[in-house]
């Protein structure tokens, strides 16, 4: 028992380094997902038919295909042979593109939950649609979307455990390596579980705090 604890203690700096890789990858992916997901959602709600078709095709592709398959297809088919992108960079992009598909659906739902009268009132004042959407609809929709977005964060964090299969040196890769070299599979699996749990917990607490911070006074509690 002591030996196990000591081994884990010894390996902690190495494994926590992997946590940083995981965090970086998930942050970049969430950011890509956010910057693509919002316009995708706006396009899907307000866009013309061809645009809506393109967007729903995009969404269906990423939702309909296992993440691991996507990671392999993009890494071995495009990113590595054409651009010599590293496993980590490729993973960030693939996770980001997938997350964009899911996030777009979170934002679409939130936009559709905003009463139509809001955009109508903006239009009736002579605002451009871009301003009405950007300054009236989205600020309300983004607030509504935070709980769903938190969910997406926790799912993406755990999905990111797959990227070690491309050779990225994330938390899971280092756990796996330590587990095999020391033959302490159970202990290191447990450690991995604790690490992912703690990151999820902290992330969700932060998002919950954000939600409360930008809560609209007097508005019905979410």
């Amino acid at each position: 028992m002591q030996e196990v604890i000591f081994t884990i203690y010894e390996s902690l700096p190495y494994i926590l380094g992997g946590c940083l890789v995981t965090l970086a990858c998930v942050s970049v992916a969430l950011l890509i997902g956010l910057t693509l997901g919002v316009p995708l959602a706006v396009g899907q709600v307000y866009g013309a038919a061809p645009l809506r078709f393109f967007i729903s095709t995009y969404v269906w592709f990423f939702r309909g295909c296992p993440l691991l398959v996507q990671l392999y297809i993009f890494f071995y088919g495009i990113f590595w042979p054409l651009f010599e992108l590293s496993a980590l960079a490729s993973s960030c992009i693939v996770l980001g593109l997938t997350s964009a598909a899911y996030q777009s659906q979170i934002f679409r739902g939130a936009i559709e939950a905003i009463p139509q009268g809001q955009l109508k009132a903006a239009r009736a004042l002579g605002l451009r649609d871009s301003n009405g959407i950007g300054f009236i609809v989205l600020p309300q929709a983004m607030r509504l979307a935070i709980p769903g977005w938190s969910n997406e964060f926790s799912i993406l964090l755990k999905d990111s455990a797959l990227i070690y299969l491309l050779g990225a040196s994330d938390t899971m890769a280092r756990i796996h390596q330590m587990a095999t070299t020391t033959n302490m599979h159970f202990a290191f699996s447990l450690l991995a579980g604790v690490i992912y749990f703690v990151i999820t917990l902290v992330g969700l607490k932060l998002l919950r705090g954000l939600e409360q911070k930008i809560h609209i006074p007097g508005y019905q509690k979410a």
Partner: protein, 282 residues
């Protein structure tokens, strides 16, 4: 009014050179025409949704300073008609004129300019829920008029003062009563200096004890000469202030006339019949 004063200040046309005289003449013709032209006219507006005809050749014309009231049973098409006028619902056919100028709704720029001059008040207020009362009024001044934050807030504050809500400026819509919310909506519309207001049952969503404060604002605007087209069920108000009542049913205006004509006891109009049933319900 402005134009006339300017004209009196200049020399009389006879003393001007011929070219200037014609220019002055055409200007004064324009001024005369704009006095003759209705402030707002909607002509033969029709609208189908799916296979249902919701509006069937509905027309209205408002002289400057006129208040006309649209009444009719639920589903008659009152809201649809009002929203067809400013293109929130695009009409299938028909034309809209602002001070004699035809509006091409397909031209987005033209439509936005039109909407800046024709304010709208909604039944369920539609204040921007994430903005304070002050920002609700100020945002269009910034985004449409390009005013600075400071100027827009000063103007918004004076509009809130006009509706008696300066002390509520920092509150959010969810923190206001229904009557206050609707009054902020009036301030928001008035801040754009509209030539005409379209009002869609502005008091229908209010508790009875809050109706009065909103009617007070409309009365004040009517006295000030605001041109208004209002859908309402407030018959006493219509009787007292409307220049004309349009009675709508099944997407058509089936009766129109002054309140005195339509609501005279024993006149036997559909309007009178409808109103007496309204009174029974109340």
């Amino acid at each position: 009014m402005h134009n006339e004063n300017q004209f009196q200040a200049t020399d009389s046309p006879a003393e001007l050179a011929p070219a200037e005289a014609t220019a002055a003449k055409s200007l004064s013709e324009e001024a005369a025409a704009s006095r003759r032209d209705p402030a707002l006219a909607a002509v033969n507006i029709s609208k189908s949704i799916g296979s249902r005809l919701i509006l069937d050749n509905v027309s209205v014309s408002l002289a400057r300073g006129e208040l006309k009231v649209v009444i009719g049973p639920s589903g008659a098409g009152k809201s649809t008609f009002l929203q067809c006028i400013n293109g929130l619902i695009p009409p299938d056919t028909g034309q809209v004129f602002l001070e004699g100028q035809s509006l091409n709704m397909r031209n987005k720029h033209e439509l936005r300019l039109f909407r800046q001059q024709v304010g709208m008040i909604f039944q369920d207020f539609n204040l921007f829920d994430h903005l304070t009362a002050l920002d609700n009024v100020a945002i269009a001044l910034r985004k449409v008029r390009g005013m600075s934050r400071q100027d827009s807030e000063a103007r918004a504050m004076s509009e809130l003062e006009r509706v008696g809500l300066a002390n509520r400026a920092r509150l959010y819509p969810a923190e206001l009563s229904g009557g206050q919310t609707q009054r902020v909506a009036f301030a928001r519309a008035l801040a754009m200096d509209p030539k005409v207001l379209l009002l869609d049952e502005p008091t229908s969503a209010l508790d009875p004890e809050l109706v009065g404060e909103v009617l007070e604002v409309i009365r004040y605007l009517a006295k000030g000469g605001m041109t208004m087209l209002m859908a309402t069920h407030q018959m006493d108000f219509a009787r007292a202030l409307a220049h004309e009542i349009l009675f709508m049913e099944h997407g058509r205006v089936i009766e129109s006339g002054s309140p005195a004509e339509l609501l005279a006891a024993g006149s036997g109009t559909r309007t009178l019949d409808f109103c007496s049933r309204l009174d029974l319900e109340l």
